[in-house]
Symmetry: C2
Subunit: 323 residues, 2 copies
């Protein structure tokens, strides 16, 4: 997306998307219920979300204990698992809890297991993918992926406070190399040192980012590049259930639409932001990615229509004589 970068001619149909991230077994408790060893992980949420828009291939690792039924869930959405390595040992596990405000997870336990020694190895098919999402894994692994990619049309990264605290320089290196960096509010504040989010985004651009998206939970998301600033509200869910995976599902809708449309102009980016908001809202209406897997084109389009209606106004010039 950067100006002057060589781009391959656009292929027919939606561009394929590579995601490198975690596939995990999550145990989650919220005020609305709980699950044990449910399918989770950033690459999982991302894939289910993006798969509604374009073909997705996962590069990740699971342990020998990874249930066959979870593979079937991926297959039901046409997600390619040829890059899902099975390593000796246990699958990455996360145990978390949300309090009644559902704002932030309290991590009770993280078992990296097979993830602790994971290094993404991309085969030629993966290297040639036009769209790539680097989920919130170690920035060193994100850089390993970027080094292996041929020349993606669009690269997007995510991160987490854990890495910002431990490897800020590497997080910045990723930020400078990708086309769009996704962060949540706290991450944007921590990384930029700015409290106010539009300014935080501006500061990250000064620090070398090409474009950033700040995810603001119930307040929506903002996109900022040198030329553009736009904002989408969150889709107002009535049945908020489990916020896990909202950010990855947002990323799936965002990249999904860009890959499907093959466009990266300002209007496509705005539409992509709305697709992100729609998919995030679906993710949080059920435990695990159930709702994301089951949703339909009609349902997604309905949410886009609602979001459009929520923000659209006809521009007025209040002080013209005929106003």
């Amino acid at each position: 997306m950067s100006p002057g970068r060589r781009r391959r001619p656009r292929a027919e149909g939606p561009g394929e998307i590579l995601v490198v991230g975690s596939v995990a077994l999550d145990s989650i408790k919220t005020p609305y219920g709980n699950v044990e060893d449910a399918l989770g992980g950033s690459a999982s949420y991302f894939s289910f979300s993006a798969s509604h828009f374009a073909p997705v291939r996962i590069v990740a690792v699971v342990g020998e204990d990874f249930p066959e039924r979870h593979r079937e869930t991926f297959q039901s959405r046409g997600v390619d698992l040829s890059g899902l390595e099975t390593a000796a040992g246990q699958t990455f596990r996360w145990r978390g809890e949300y309090t009644v405000e559902l704002g932030h997870a309290i991590t009770l336990e993280t078992q990296l297991n097979v993830f602790s020694t994971f290094h993404p190895r991309l085969d030629p098919k993966h290297r040639a993918m036009p769209y790539v999402f680097l989920a919130n894994i170690d920035p060193d692994l994100q850089l390993e992926v970027l080094d292996q990619m041929e020349d993606p049309r669009l690269s997007v990264s995510d991160t987490m406070n854990y890495w910002i605290a431990r490897k800020p320089d590497r997080v910045f290196e990723v930020l400078r190399r990708v086309d769009v960096a996704l962060l949540n509010e706290e991450e944007a504040r921590a990384l930029s040192g700015e409290a106010q989010l539009v300014r935080a985004a501006g500061r990250l651009l000064e620090q070398g980012a090409n474009a950033v998206i700040i995810k603001k939970g119930e307040h929506g998301a903002l996109f900022r590049s040198r030329d553009e600033l736009f904002i989408t509200p969150a889709f107002p869910v009535s049945g908020l259930c489990d916020p896990t995976g909202a950010g990855d599902s947002f990323a799936g809708g965002f990249i999904g639409w860009l890959a499907r449309s093959g466009r990266h102009d300002a209007d496509a980016l705005r539409q992509a932001l709305a697709c992100g908001a729609a998919m995030a809202s679906l993710a949080i209406e059920s435990f695990s990615p159930e709702r994301l897997v089951a949703t339909t084109p009609g349902e997604i389009e309905e949410r886009l229509t609602t979001l459009h209606k929520m923000v659209h106004f006809s521009l007025t010039r209040p002080f013209e004589a005929n106003s």
Copy 2:
């Protein structure tokens, strides 16, 4: 605005607006500077903001110490002060401080002075006004004003946590009687008992409000009625200086545009929300209402254009064959 209510035919030109609230002397400290005994108060910020759109009349009280130069500031914007009572004693004073995040004021001192015995007395001219804003004064005073009004086309209230904590029933009574109730995030959460703001707005409607606007600071504002839900982002200010009066200035832009346009349809309400966001952004770029007084039609329209550009996207149907 309520369905079935009798409405007078619309007069020519912008409708006149009555505001009942405080006119104060503010001493404020922020990380960017400080002022002593500056012109402040909810009615002041509201008036300066709304005066760019429509004629404004104030009903309020000041003490004998109220400086003549502040009256001149109101007159420079054509604000009618015939309802500004001068009582024996000192003007209402507020002393506050903002920390670096500029989110919330810490009140250091409040001297009610002449405000402590204030009862708004409306003359026939005030009673006949088509638009009325009840700023964040005691809900009992707000009800006194409503009782005196003839049949306003649109009534809007504001409140504060102080009254929600002390007189929740009266705050609810105001909410049920006005067309639109303005609240900030904390007030909406406190009054509705709901943490998530779209739900908080929904709960307030269930509790009898006709329509609510929740002001979310840097995250913008949301409007919710039985039929409508829309959202405006905050205008991204580069030179945030002093957040005092942002909410009242928002209200001034909101009611100002409705009074100017004479329309209350969904599109006018959306435009009004954007006008509110534009005026709030101007208010916070200087200490005291300086910037609001000095701003120009061109500057306001420029901010509306920016806000429009920030949120607008062309609605796509991602899954249509021709997408």
